[in-house]
Symmetry: none
Subunit: 414 residues, 2 copies
């Protein structure tokens, strides 16, 4: 079953808004064994006609988002009716619902709003309790002037808060009827940190392909996602290969980021965390505090950018900094231990490095970093890395390696 998505909207085209619709629809139909084969974005207005006509030749199902509203560039409904030779009719039930909505909010309405209550009798109305414009579902219909039938066409609202419940509550059940026998293919994914993309492929690529699995890689700074797609029995064999070869480099098989895993592990282990950040400049604290529930385990972060702050806030001896430099093994150690002492946390990590462009020496080139981890009743450990890259990627890479120290530390302790 071939599925395509058409997103309409000048604001997406101009780059003002990220397109989250494709991801939402893909995730929603994936459990039915269905996948989107192609997606297109077109501006509001007539461009949607060309994009839609093209899908008639290729697709079994087309999801169109946007263009159902009351403004002059919202013409998706009209275009579909024109292509299929259908006539729009006023739907009093929809109109009453729209008016009730406006009245409830005390918003005045004008005649253009009434357009949203128009649809042809051939389309099924998809109720929209979160907005005024309902969605529409068109079953396959004869295309005038041709011998073919149209694909199943869904016209869906653009605002995510309207689209998401409509997809979950109405579109997915309809898709289950339309595609009852969709192939029982499954996907498993493995998120890893600590290995490069080509190293991951070297370790598992051949044996997975030999099993007949579809294999995909996605690399981001400091992590590589691995995905395998196939029949469940084969996936089990594939997973065994992956677990044997990648072992503890895998940090999760769901969609959580590394910091989500770290926060969950700390909550489960009832351990608290503090951070002493120099070169990462608050990036690790920010990642941790993006996770709901972080307040249970995160006590404090110290962004000790200046040397004086390392001394005043974390108690790093000024002589230590003078003797070894701020980017050094002893200073990283003292920062982590100072953060633990100052906050009273069970675990503290520290980062000190040279993000560049300035601040380097021959002995310590740009990208040099020391990560330290101090754990209650354990010896503090310090690790040196070299990440010669741009400033923001450097922060990412240092954060990943530092967070991974916490993950591995908590995993070992439990």
């Amino acid at each position: 079953m071939r599925i395509e998505v058409i997103n309409t909207g000048t604001e997406i085209m101009l780059g003002n808004v990220l397109n989250s619709h494709l991801g939402y629809l893909s995730n929603a139909i994936f459990p039915l064994g269905l996948r989107v084969q192609r997606q297109a974005t077109v501006p509001d207005g007539d461009a949607i006609r060309d994009a839609l006509v093209e899908t008639f030749e290729r697709a079994d199902v087309v999801f169109v988002t946007g263009g159902l509203g009351p403004t002059t560039d919202d013409i998706t409904r009209e275009i579909v009716c024109e292509l299929l030779g259908l006539t729009m009719q006023h739907d009093e039930e929809i109109w009453q619902a729209i008016m009730a909505r406006f009245n409830r909010r005390g918003i005045p309405w004008n005649d253009r709003v009434k357009l949203q209550a128009l649809h042809p009798a051939e389309a099924r109305v998809l109720q929209n309790p979160h907005g005024t414009a309902p969605g529409l579902y068109f079953p396959p219909l004869p295309v005038p002037g041709t011998a073919m039938k149209s694909p199943h066409i869904f016209l869906l609202p653009g605002p995510p808060r309207e689209l998401h419940p409509m997809v979950d509550n109405l579109v997915v059940p309809l898709m289950r009827e339309i595609a009852p026998a969709a192939a029982a293919h499954e996907l498993r994914s493995f998120r890893t940190t600590g290995l490069g993309e080509s190293r991951v492929e070297e370790l598992v690529g051949e044996p997975l392909l030999a099993l007949g699995l579809e294999v995909g890689y996605c690399a981001r700074p400091g992590e590589v996602d691995l995905r395998i797609i196939g029949a469940p029995a084969v996936l089990d064999q594939g997973e065994a290969v992956i677990r044997q070869k990648l072992g503890t480099f895998i940090f999760t098989t769901d969609t959580r980021p590394l910091e989500g895993i770290v926060v969950a592990a700390l909550i489960a282990a009832k351990k608290t965390l503090a951070l002493a950040e120099s070169c990462t400049g608050g990036w690790i604290a920010n990642k941790i505090t993006n996770i709901a529930g972080a307040s249970e385990i995160f006590l404090a972060g110290y962004v000790t950018y200046a040397n004086a702050a390392k001394t005043r806030t974390l108690g790093v001896p000024a002589e230590l900094i003078a003797e070894h430099g701020a980017v050094s093994e002893p200073v990283a150690r003292a920062m982590a231990e100072g953060a633990r002492a100052q906050s009273g946390a069970d675990i503290a990590i520290a980062t000190t490095g040279i993000a560049g462009p300035g601040g380097c020496s021959e002995e310590k080139p740009v990208g040099t970093v020391f990560n330290a981890i101090a754990v209650r009743d354990a010896e503090t450990r310090v690790f040196k890395h070299l990440f010669p890259t741009d400033r923001e990627t450097f922060k990412h890479l240092v954060a990943q390696t530092a967070l991974d120290l916490v993950r591995r530390s908590v995993a070992c302790a439990t």
Copy 2:
């Protein structure tokens, strides 16, 4: 000039990753008077062939992102060569750069990496200092078996940290050559903070349109960019309108982010900064430390997430927290003053708020935040806002308002 974008990547198709490429490219070519007319996403692999062939009939310029890496699903280069009848050759210079990159990082490389050094003689190499795979530019070439020439084709890397600098430094200058007439119009942009998009439009929209200028708005959390396009003489009149109506809400007319303006202003004023972050969780420190030169002015950031940390690190009296709550005017004030005292900085800002989902009350709903600014020899000021939104947007909005306090404070003092 018709421009299309093809994004390749199974991870985008499957909904694992949001597509930010279209927005980046659209914004980059907008100042040349160019716009993307259509965008398609296809999975890794052969689907890119069909998508590309279709654009040959319609487009003058095609940007393709992704599929240049070393893994088996990275076959964009091969497909373009096959379509245009070109032969790939080993490029020793690229290969040396790739090896140098691997050696610098001490990462072992394998034979697949070598594929990234292949390209046909007809393509121009776009250097990629932020990754291994270079981009490629194909000028219009005869399409075998047809009478037509191919569009200008750009093959660009998928990772944003590689794509963005390549677009800025190499693609935009090339596009200026390809579309010189389009660049005859001039663009001026104004970045504002503190006003909503519809308020900005209400203030300047009509008079600018009356001047015959093309007007564009781009809203992000906490800021609105305003762009006007037209002939220089008319732009002067438009700029006068904008400056009169928007005044100090404009923080820059270049592309620097607000934190870049704040760091530059502090450096110019020879003032130092400290941060006390609760609800922003290190996000402001991270923004500041993304700016090269931040170490000149940024002394320390305190991410005092737990109440105990507010007391231990910043000296906020425990009774004050008990009496007023951590999210309150007096605690914000004490945090800012504590951060200034602890760090010795000239200026300190503090944020304390309720990001949600938990922690709210009827009196203090989710989204409530207090920002404080403490300045040497001045009275500390506290501002209350309400940003009822998701966790990450909340952080953005609080950071913008807090940074703007610093910007306005330094601007007033100088």
